[in-house]
Amino acid sequence: MKRRTFLAGLAAVPVAGCGLSSNTTSNSSASGQVTGEITFQTWSLKPKYTDYVNGVVDAFQKQHQGTTVKWVDQPADGYLAKVMADASAGSLPDVINVPPDLSFPLAKAGQLVDLDQELKDAKPEYLENAWQAFEIPGKGGCYGFPWYLNTGPVFYNKALFQQAGLDPNKPPANFKELEQQALQLAQKKVAMLGQTPTIADFGLYGVKLFDNDKFTFNEAKGVEFVESYKRMYDAGALIPEALTQNYTGSGAKFMAQQTALSPGSAYDLGKFKTDAPSLYANIGITKPITNTGSANMFLHGVSVPKSSKNQATALAFGRFLTNAENQVKFAKLASIFPSTSKGGDDPYFTTEDGSDEARVRVAAAKQLKTAVNYTPVQFSDQMREALLQQLADAMLGKKSPKQALDDAVNECNRLLK
């Protein structure tokens, strides 16, 4: 049967939600004139960064007379639902703020402009690893201007380390030490970790995550990694909530001083200072735990949908917003890092002033040069849930680590289709 589109422009079904619609491609050309009105949608930047974004918009409009950029900000809560509804209806904003895992399904469905094709000279302006994060692996094409990046150290609670008889100045430097120290802490009824490993943790451990269009994290190294977590879980080195927890929940447990170690970013350090001063007084900061030599990286970008009626202006704005000058300004405001090849050499990212913030910032900026976005772009929300559930079964002893990983990989590969 032919690929068929029916009942376009659906209203939402109360429980299931649904949407089928054709991909509306406008006739607008990417090489057209930079003029006219565009809509730019960001992910939860108001009200903290209102002045910054308005400044960028004003500067762009001044540089390109005759253009109008209408900025809309969506709160983080419900952002995905909004993008989904707009994408289904073929009415995405002209420039849209998306992380790679959100740009991937849109690009796969043919809804985003390929920057490699439309702006051939743009690639060198960005860090290679950031540009790669918006490519469809194996198929080429880049579907988003990399915008802001983040990476960070590992935070640990020196007081809890001390309480368990560990040297507070010798946090774990690798996964082997992590297990050893976690088991020691567990003997004193202190939990080291707040969640089971994420797909990015498997990457940091050195597990091959994806190969030949298939997930492969059930390889021997992956099993070894889960076995290590199982030993820690059995000893009480993971809090009971770890089996159902995501990054945010796990971070909250670290803030509440219920766990001794948590990966984080410069942004988190500021949060500890204001929201958890007693933790901040005992905070230890160390390098990310990795077997590969590379840290994990998170990033956001901006994409231009093919449905945009003003692609030329949208592309020009996307490039302007993410240029080195604008990104460096934003990074200084928001404890994040620029994804441009030039912005990182600003003294702000290379010189310490003795404060913890500057130390974390400089270390993170250095780390970013080799950092990798370990989460494969194909790794969807449903896959994340499948992995979390299978790991829970492994921790509870309902399945062997090998079986749990095989089941998780099978489910992820099924969902890939």
């Binding site: 659906l10 995905l80 909530e241 559930q389």
Partner: protein, 289 residues
């Protein structure tokens, strides 16, 4: 005055338009989608009954259906009985009864998210309840980390939230119980318990059937409580997932399997319809007796 035959339709039109657009059309669309492999983006192909075959072989579906059934069985008896007892207390005219009635109704109007957060803080492994348990010399209980206890905790929240709502329904029904029946029973020497079973309960039976039907349907399609208490995960290994939680998890986001989620919704609809038909039959039998 002339009678225009279309006048009633004009009055019906606004409501009908809203129903058609937001209820009937999405419902029909859901049925169509349940026979496709539609995703959130792009079209789908008709796949016949593939989704239903997959469902029959999907262990997650059976876990969710079992949990929803258990949930329903767990919440209906307390939601039929407890609000009745509270309504009988709240019916009394004593000083300060308004505060009592308001207190019981507050959980009904409180936001589900706020309620979920409060209960999460209470039942967390380091929460208030566990701190009290530990202070009393007990060991911490995994209210939210053990799949069975998570379901039970969630049922407790559902009952707590529902008490006020069903209490109001019972209050209205209690006002209609003839006082002379109670007086006659008192003259015959019946005590309060006897009067409850022999006068109040028979008079309220149709209301009890209604409350049972409403709480059964709401119990079977529970979402917020279990979602919030499990942090959206459906419990460790997804073992506390319920039907609506499964539908949400399968169909959400840009990568959602909308076809399969629709098929699950369709099955949920059929189950709930069956439940309501059974209740209707019970009610009719009641009227005939």
């Amino acid at each position: 005055m002339t009678h225009r035959p279309y006048t009633p339709w004009l009055f019906l039109l606004p409501g009908l338009a809203v129903s058609l657009l937001f209820v009937i059309f999405p419902f029909l669309n859901m049925i169509v989608l349940s026979f496709t492999d539609a995703s959130a983006l792009g079209g789908g192909q008709f796949t016949g009954v593939d989704n239903f075959v997959r469902m029959a072989q999907d262990p997650k579906f059976w876990v969710a259906a079992r949990n929803s059934l258990l949930y329903m069985v767990g919440v209906v008896p307390p939601l039929v009985l407890l609000p009745l007892l509270i309504a009988m207390l709240a019916q009394k005219v004593v000083p300060g009864i308004g505060i009592f009635r308001t207190a019981f109704f507050t959980p009904v109007i409180a936001s589900a998210v706020v309620v979920g957060l409060i209960w999460t803080w209470l039942l967390d492994s380091r929460g208030l309840v566990n701190n009290v348990v530990e202070a009393l010399g007990g060991t911490r209980i995994g209210f939210l980390t053990d799949s069975t206890l998570l379901l039970i905790s969630s049922m407790v929240v559902t009952v707590w939230r529902g008490l006020g709502y069903y209490m109001v329904i019972y209050l209205a029904a209690l006002a209609n119980v003839p006082k002379d029946l109670h007086e006659a029973a008192m003259v015959d020497g019946a005590g309060p318990i006897r009067r409850f079973w022999s006068v109040t309960v028979p008079a309220l039976r149709p209301t009890m059937v209604l409350v049972a039907a409403l709480s059964a349907v709401n119990g079977f399609r529970v979402f917020s409580e279990i979602y919030l208490l499990s942090g959206g995960s459906g419990g460790p290994g997804g073992a506390s997932t319920t039907m609506v939680l499964l539908i949400q998890s399968v169909g959400r986001g840009l990568t959602g399997e909308v076809g399969y989620a629709s098929a699950l919704s369709f099955v949920l609809f059929v189950i709930l319809l069956g439940l309501l038909l059974v209740t209707l039959k019970l009610n009719r039998r009641e009227e005939q007796l």
